[in-house]
């Protein structure tokens, strides 16, 4: 999918390499934005995520892709470097019932803040993020009230907002969609989900485990959407 931009509006799009951010980028492209994609190298366990982000950038015809390096190992193992053990999958967990073990302190706040700096450099107010408050919820920084509060803060933080040249808009087009609806939307927009990466615990060769919370949610989403799952799972682990 390399649909040309219908106008020259720029947007910064946070791209993690996962399914949700790929669909978010496709939505931004469909709306005609020239997309500047941003990923973070913060010592995550799997370089597959960063490779997937770059592949998504290429496949969806974004304007430029950058990886910001944030080395915050010094401020504690769990802050953005995710040294915690794999969370056990719990298919009966109620969304929102508790904050999952995979929660990373202030992650979306840090990511949005670097995106905000880049948006100001690019002189645009549009920032896209693939957060979702429905499936796999429980993250405080994936809720609508958080996104609204961030946007309000951003409009007081920046030169362009204060000078009145541009209003910051934090765009979260997947906020209220179920995983199956996100997959349907992405399919309609031509997203190749085989290049996206969701697994928390892939094999050394990059195959998804098929068993972690993220794999289970992804498989369930494809099943509910009635769309074949193109993910390469590690068959030995099934």
């Amino acid at each position: 999918m390399t649909e040309p931009a219908r106008n020259s509006r720029k947007a910064v799009v946070l791209v993690s390499g996962g399914l949700d951010s790929a669909v978010t980028l496709a939505v931004a492209r469909k709306e005609g934005f020239s997309c500047h994609t941003l990923s973070f190298d913060y010592g995550q366990r799997h370089s597959q995520e960063l490779r997937a982000a770059e592949n998504i950038f290429r496949a969806l015809g974004a304007a430029e892709h950058h990886v910001a390096a944030l080395d915050m190992r010094a401020i504690g193992g769990s802050a953005l470097t995710s040294k915690m053990a794999m969370p056990r999958s719990d298919p009966d967990r109620q969304p929102g019932a508790h904050i999952p073990a995979t929660y990373v302190p202030a992650r979306n706040t840090i990511f949005l803040s670097v995106a905000l700096a880049w948006a100001e450099v690019l002189e645009t107010g549009d920032i896209f993020i693939g957060v979702n408050a429905v499936d796999y919820s429980g993250y405080p920084d994936c809720r609508p009230e958080y996104i609204r509060a961030y946007e309000n803060m951003a409009n007081l933080a920046t030169r362009m907002a204060v000078e009145g040249t541009r209003r910051i808009r934090i765009r979260a087009p997947l906020l209220n969609l179920r995983k199956s609806e996100i997959i349907q939307k992405g399919t309609a927009l031509g997203v190749d989900f085989s290049i996206t990466h969701s697994c928390y615990d892939p094999s050394p060769g990059g195959l998804a485990c098929g068993r972690c919370d993220s794999c289970r949610l992804r498989r369930k989403g494809f099943a509910e959407a009635g769309i074949p799952d193109p993910t390469r799972y590690n068959r030995e682990e099934q």
Copy 2:
């Protein structure tokens, strides 16, 4: 000044190496906080800043000091890496009349966001920042309304806030003080200003130029406070 903490409350304190953040740290120590100081290596022109931050940490008896590395050169020369020319000093400039050339996109927002992550790791809600809305104002992210909006966002962003265990407080004790008042407060708290660094354009040996906006504001502050300025200025440049 190594006054022991009167209790075990922790705080994260942003320390740039400048005069304001040194006084902010002294205020936090005076209030009895065990202070965890945070500086940023974002490719700033002068390593003097980072050395000064570490000296301030030691002199004021903080608990631990960390430097977070943020490499964002990829997202544009002016975003946090400050490649712009030295701003001309303008002694007649009215505070707040315009946003200075030294404004760095989203800087305080990024700094506070990393501080927020560390605060969550430390399980504390207190974050100190030495922003000031009086002298040398015009930065959008140094205004009271910005700080309030950031705090509101932070209380929706984090596990501890959502679970009700701790409320985030963005403490900006210098917000409404003039530079001379900040210097008087720091002097009363025993801050050694000779180890702080303000100059935008120091000599290779680390002497302050005495002429940039930051040096002028500092000199004026000491003069108005009636306190001798211990800064070593580059006499050849006077």
